[in-house]
Amino acid sequence: MTAMLSAAAAIPRLRLVTRPAARLPSARSNWLRPLSSATHVTPPAAAAGAGSLEPPDLHRLANAARISLTLQEVEEFEPKIRQVIDLFGQLQAVDLESIEPSLRAGTATGSSLREDKPETFVNRDAIVEAIPSYDDPYIKVPRVLNKE
């Protein structure tokens, strides 16, 4: 399994959003292209749609989320996350040929916008209290230099 094609990279591809072009067979086959040539067991439901998504690279995922996992935790989470990814694999197999692509799941009716009227949040004290390290009037954070 190559670490390059981790679940982290796969997640953004699983958007429900497709541009109109994605409905074309060529684009579709591109969309469903297996993410690596590696062979591994695929769940029965996904197998039909070539939904063989790359299994998660837990180290990379943890790094991207800025959390540290012990080896034991990695072992524990790996199958759970793989399950989620396999679910997406099943979704990929669904035939969408005749479905109009939509930008979002679910459409809000009516205006979802807000008037540009100010409203000061009243419980500012509670917010400040919730700040882990506060140095009035600033939030105190570890020293930051030019690091991405």
């Binding site: 982290a8 990279a9 997640i11 953004p12 958007r15 429900l16 959003v17 541009r19 991207a64 800025r66 930008l103 979002r104 459409t107 809000a108 205006s111 979802s112 916008l113 807000r114 008037e115 540009d116 009227k117 100010p118 409203e119 000061t120 949040f121 500012r124 917010i127 400040v128 919730a130 140095d135 009037p137 600033y138 939030i139 105190k140 954070v141 570890p142 020293r143 930051v144 230099l145 030019n146 690091k147 991405e148």
Partner: protein, 546 residues
């Protein structure tokens, strides 16, 4: 584009002199070169000495020989809405740190963003002003990265479907830079939120965050890589500033960070189709700094090409250092940063109707480019045109003056000379003075119909601009009506001649330059009110009548 990363930081820059010598030769300090817009106040348009322009031009030609620069710009404009983009917190520049915050803009779990309708309106306005296609449906995405000024761990932005795309902007280069019309492509305009401000403590042992700015609405404008020189890029920025100010969507203030330009520069041999390695430059606080930073960077890259060291041009972010007039490496880019964009699940798509867009189209003011073309058609010089259209307050004042019947060229002359000088001295904007367009038109009319002389006109102008009032009022109050009665002038001329027999003798002996002396004396006697044409005519007759 990790645009939020640097904001508010003053990073210590290592003052390593890499190509310093070369640069000094190429360009003297040109700090007085200001591309216009910037200050809302009127600026003196004729301030650039010719010799320096020529030196710059020649130097630029010498050093770009065989190479061309490709410049693209990402501009962030902070919208002047009352509240933030996704919550109702008010935003005021300069508020007490962390005072205008709420659970939403602080990224607390369980909060829901709700889009401010004014943000959409501003985006559509700017999109239309930049001749873009407006997306009837667009959406927000999460751009994920970790930084202490970004409370949620992601920025709400627009990724694959921006609200506007495929536009262009027209502009005219300043006359003192050789002039010329340019059209630059606009790739896209999208809505997003700003991050907070990061400051560094005195001791440097920790950093401080102010989240007042977190969640403030921005529009990011991405240009096509259509610019080739520093002045083109600076003018592009200045035109965007004019446009957002004309539209009233932003104050466009660079010092406050309401308008920020990140510039990408690459250089390639002329004739090569693929782009060279792209370097990003940040930390420019004015358009003249943009101009100089880019020209410096172009020279640096060409120099490396010529020395066979093109491989030393690497993909990186460089900071402009104003004190040394150079760019310095801030950070090298290690491959592409993966922002793991995905659709913002908490916000519905932004759906526009044609009625809505039509409504906004109808409300659009006349934009700088249209104004410039209109002024040009009035027969004004390009210098005048650029000056008037640079500041919409000035343009509005000018237009109103014309509506009262004033002659365009005369009105323009008054605004560009005496009024501009006054504004500059007093650091005022034209609408902040007591002078009204109506009174300027009255003043012009009073000179034209001979009620007052041009000289008195100037006096009245300074009275009006500082204290207000009307032309008629000042004329009456100070008894300034021009003396155009030949008999009255003749009497004054006679008296002055009689009082100066010695000068008369000298004049008649051939020292005819003394006519100026006599004219001055008569003018003085009339308290500046004598009609100068009549005065000189009568005086000449009298002096020469032996």
């Amino acid at each position: 584009m990790a645009l939020t990363l640097l904001r508010g930081m003053r990073t210590p820059v290592s003052l390593r002199s890499n190509t310093g010598l070369f640069f000094n030769v190429l360009r003297p300090r040109l700090s007085h070169f200001t591309t216009r817009a910037e200050s809302a106040q009127a600026t003196e348009p004729k301030a650039v000495p010719k010799s320096i322009q020529l030196a710059t031009k020649e130097a630029a030609e010498q050093n770009t020989q065989g190479f061309e620069a490709i410049i693209g710009i990402e501009t962030h404009v902070q919208l002047s809405t009352v509240t933030k983009a996704f919550c109702s917190c008010p935003y005021d520049y300069g508020s007490q740190p962390n005072s205008t915050v709420c659970p939403t803009c602080m990224g607390h779990p369980g909060t829901l963003p709700v889009l401010n309708e004014r943000v959409v309106e501003c985006a559509v306005k700017l999109g239309l002003a930049l001749n873009c296609e407006i997306s009837m449906t667009s959406k927000f995405d999460r751009k994920q990265y970790f930084y202490p000024d970004l409370p949620k761990g992601y920025q709400i932005s627009q990724f694959d479907i921006p609200i506007a795309k495929k536009g262009y902007v027209d502009l005219d280069l300043p006359v003192e830079f050789g002039g010329g019309h340019r059209k630059f492509g606009i790739t896209r305009v999208h809505m997003e939120e700003d991050a907070g401000k990061l400051l560094h403590s005195e001791s440097g042992s920790y950093s401080q965050v102010d989240l007042n700015r977190a969640g403030v609405p921005l529009l990011e404008i991405v240009s096509e890589p259509d610019m080739r020189t520093g002045i083109e890029a600076a003018e592009y920025g200045a035109e965007l500033q004019r446009i957002v100010r004309y539209l009233g969507v932003s104050n466009g203030n660079m010092q406050e960070g309401s308008l920020r330009c990140d510039v990408n520069v690459s250089v390639r041999p002329v004739g090569q189709s693929e782009f060279g390695t792209k370097v990003e430059i940040k930390n420019m606080n004015s358009f003249s700094e943009i101009n100089r930073a880019i020209d410096y960077e172009i020279s640096r890259q060409i120099m490396l090409h010529k020395e066979g060291q093109a491989d030393q041009i690497v993909q990186e972010t460089r900071l402009w250092d104003e004190s040394s007039q150079k760019t310095f490496t801030m950070r090298k880019k290690e491959g592409l940063v993966n922002y793991r964009y995905f659709p913002e699940p908490d916000l519905p798509e932004v759906v526009l109707t044609t009625d809505y867009i039509d409504e906004i189209s109808k409300s659009m003011p006349e934009l700088p480019e249209a104004k410039r073309r209109r002024y040009e058609n009035m027969g004004l010089s390009m210098q005048d045109v650029l000056f008037l259209a640079n500041d919409d307050n000035v343009a509005h004042f000018f237009d109103s003056t014309l509506e009262y019947g004033a002659d365009a060229k005369l009105a323009c002359n008054w605004i560009m000379s005496d009024i501009a000088a006054y504004l500059k001295n007093e650091k005022l904007s034209i609408h902040e003075t007591k002078l009204t367009p109506l009174e300027l038109s009255e003043l012009i009319a009073s000179i034209k119909n001979g009620t007052i002389s041009g000289k008195i006109g100037k006096e009245i102008l300074f009275e009006l601009i500082a204290k207000g009032g009307t032309v008629k009022g000042v004329i009456e109050e100070k008894d300034l009506v021009q003396i155009a009665d030949p008999a009255a002038i003749e009497a004054m001329v006679d008296k002055v001649i009689a009082d100066n027999p010695k000068q008369l003798e000298e004049y008649r002996a051939g020292k005819t330059k003394l006519q100026g002396f006599f004219a001055g004396q008569v003018m003085k006697a009339s308290k500046g009110k004598a009609n100068p044409v009549l005065l000189n005519k009568i005086l000449g007759e009298k002096l020469n009548a032996k």
